[in-house]
Symmetry: D2
Subunit: 262 residues, 4 copies
């Protein structure tokens, strides 16, 4: 029994630092690295790639809307074609920095509003999955467990990883409760760890209305930009391992030379 | 006897259109495509890649400072490491869009202030040449004829192309006369064509002080964002061919699968 | 019988030029000047203020979303408080340049998506009207004829100007037909002029379903960024004057020293 | 005997927080508020204005290069006219938010590279001083003690405040030692306080070569974005007051209605 622990990383920008990347990295297995559009910059990309390599953590691209002021969390009306191009430019940018570090990317996880929109909108999900596949068919595509993103990824010929959020409330239909709703983010570390263990071992989660819903997750998200994120990451890893769940990267980067050509 | 004709392309941005790309493309052999930092955006990149492919024109990356307001023409103080990363992110972005179009990039030419600074500053030239090599050793590196850029490119293991500017005045030391100096840009099409032919056939150019200086060029630049650029491009091509000079791309993209891995 | 002709102006950005401002200015009575967020920059602001002053055209602020890539036309989710602050910063910026030119602003017209959202959403309309009033109660607030913007402006204590669009199709409820619908933009200059005259003289417009709807307009919009905009502007002015309608600015700037303090 | 303590404030941007504004504000007398170009955004401007008002701290504009990635610390080649317009747009933006809070601005202090360039370049200093004067002649203009900025401010008809930096090393000619030089920033709080007291009481500072140079300062800068800035601010205030120096704002905002019209 195993699961991947992923965390958004590399979200500093110029003079502005964000996230406890160095403290969190030892506890996770996959790093989603901001690509300089909603957050991050070339320097942060490189530093994060190095930090991940040092800890044996799989690196992935974390593309989002080109909206620093909104941190990629505002749903900007976007055509599927625009979304695919947005993703390609960011994936390519991180890939290039990674090449110069001798690191190969293993996965792609859309960020914030782009992720949420793609989880609801099949055309958008198809566009971003196709963009990933056009770039490198060996990349794993992360998507919300139970959402159209996973179908879109498979349809594009990609390996997909179903993602769960142990610190977020769920609606009965499997959607995440919007952040604007009170109680949508769970702060109690013990509760989060318990939910994570249940998700992985029993493939279910309790929704906001009290009903259990089925959820089959390959990777769990740790939010890295909240206070205490490193404690949560450490507790999640310890709690999962204590419950007999091995934490390891879901996506493996392909060997150099393989898979990245059209 | 042959030469490459290159032109900066894809410099539109969102609602703003710039350059007569469609009218110029039939006359040139290499397109330097803006990568979304000083100019261009994903849509313009894709459109330009398609247009170039349609005309059999070699595609290259044209990275510049991330300075839309200054169109990449302001010399922003930058460390070599920052310049390399700047270049990698833009090269990677264009590469990713190109992959999804089935196009492979053939060359890299720095834009504006980044080009000018690298032509004077060996450390900067080394940094951007190394960045190109780290990404794909098969890319040709364009640099000002006679400048340290060419040494830097060779040192990084890259094929280099020496660039001449038929419509720009030269200083006796081979540097371009700064745009702020009156007469630095030559508007008379006949004069520009004559200078181009002399550059290619006789490997020399007349400097501003009247002295002939030696200049060995592989590629000539056509400025695409000036009024009448399409007429100049057509005249240059016709004039060169009339003088027995064949116009063809200097850089050839490597076959898919070759060269792009570290 | 009179009407104001307004046009969006000053939408160039750095190297990118947009709009036939110099050709249109002689025909209009109010210029809505981009404030450097969705379009424009300090240089364009100053040039446009000078051009307007030269032609005796009233100057107004034309604030929009801080979204150059989308030209302010994408509906970005925004709270009323954010919208008010967005407007204030842009209005203040243009006001400062105007002060240094000895020009006083006469009106404010929201741009693109911000305008469209405010025309539908009373809370947003209230927020931007209140922001204008907090800055300078003597400014006239432009809003879509028949929309909640006008009520919001009046409630904030502002003079309001009801705006009509002679070159846009209308829905039976008085809303503009979205640009995505075929036929939403009317290209035939004669038709546009005839609609303008009917709007002003008969206070009605024919909606897309053929029904006449009542529309009481103080100002008509000329779209300045479309090909042939200067011909349309000239034709509109000539047609209106031929029909006995005087074209003059609706909003007058207050005298220096008056009205601009809280 | 009195001096002003000023600190750069409001440098957060969207999701990114920077500076211990709430902890520092009680100790200073003037807040230089970022205007959304190199740092800050409308939300941060408003929050900082409120915080300053609450503590009776004078508010000023802190305009810098429109260069978030470089935090306004990169010297971007700029004409005097461009610098003046840059300043006006930012001053106007903050002024507009301030109007809506019932706060009047008292001073203007250029930020980072713009400040450093203006301290060396009289044409640039004249341009930004003239821009301030064109906007509101009652604003106080902050400039490096002993630099051309103060002459420029006086020439433009402004009250000027000479600024000293107790935590920065000085060159024998009165210029600040560049940050790139080791020892240019003084970390020892006791040393900084002692230097501040000497600057104010004895109108001199010891330069890097050991020589005493004369320095007549009206205001001392506290750097707010360094770790421990709040302790430094508190120590500076206590140390100055202990030495019989009263800390109070140099610049007073003019009464509403006065001074702000051309």
């Amino acid at each position: 029994m195993r699961v991947d622990l992923n965390c958004d990383m590399g979200e500093s920008f110029g003079r502005w630092e964000l996230g406890a990347d160095a403290a969190i990295m030892p506890h996770i297995s996959s790093a989603n690295i901001a690509c300089g559009a909603h957050a991050g910059d070339p320097k942060a990309m490189r530093a994060t790639l190095r930090l991940a390599r040092q800890h044996g953590v799989a690196c992935g691209a974390h593309p989002g809307f080109a909206d620093r002021a909104g941190f990629g969390r505002r749903e900007i009306p976007t055509t599927p074609a625009e979304a695919g191009d947005l993703l390609l430019c960011q994936l390519g940018a991180l890939h290039a920095i990674a090449m110069s570090e001798g690191v190969r990317l293993a996965h792609v996880k859309a960020h914030g509003a782009l992720y949420n929109m793609a989880a609801r909108d099949r055309a958008l999900a198809d566009a971003i999955a196709s963009a990933v596949a056009a770039f490198d068919r060996s990349l794993t595509f992360f998507g919300l467990a139970g959402s159209v993103m996973l179908d879109a990824g498979r349809r594009a010929g990609l390996t997909v990883a179903a993602e769960g959020f142990a610190d977020r409330a769920y609606e009965p239909d499997g959607a995440l409760t919007p952040r604007s709703v009170a109680g949508s983010v769970i702060d109690d570390v013990d509760v989060v760890v318990a939910r994570a263990v249940t998700m992985v071992r029993e493939k279910r989660v309790r929704a906001r209305n009290g009903a259990d819903i089925r959820l089959d997750v390959d990777t769990l998200c740790v939010h890295g930009d909240t206070p205490g994120a490193e404690r949560l990451a450490a507790a999640l890893r310890a709690g999962l391992e204590h419950a007999g769940v091995r934490v390891s990267a879901f996506a493996k980067a392909s060997a150099p030379g393989a898979g990245s050509e059209p």
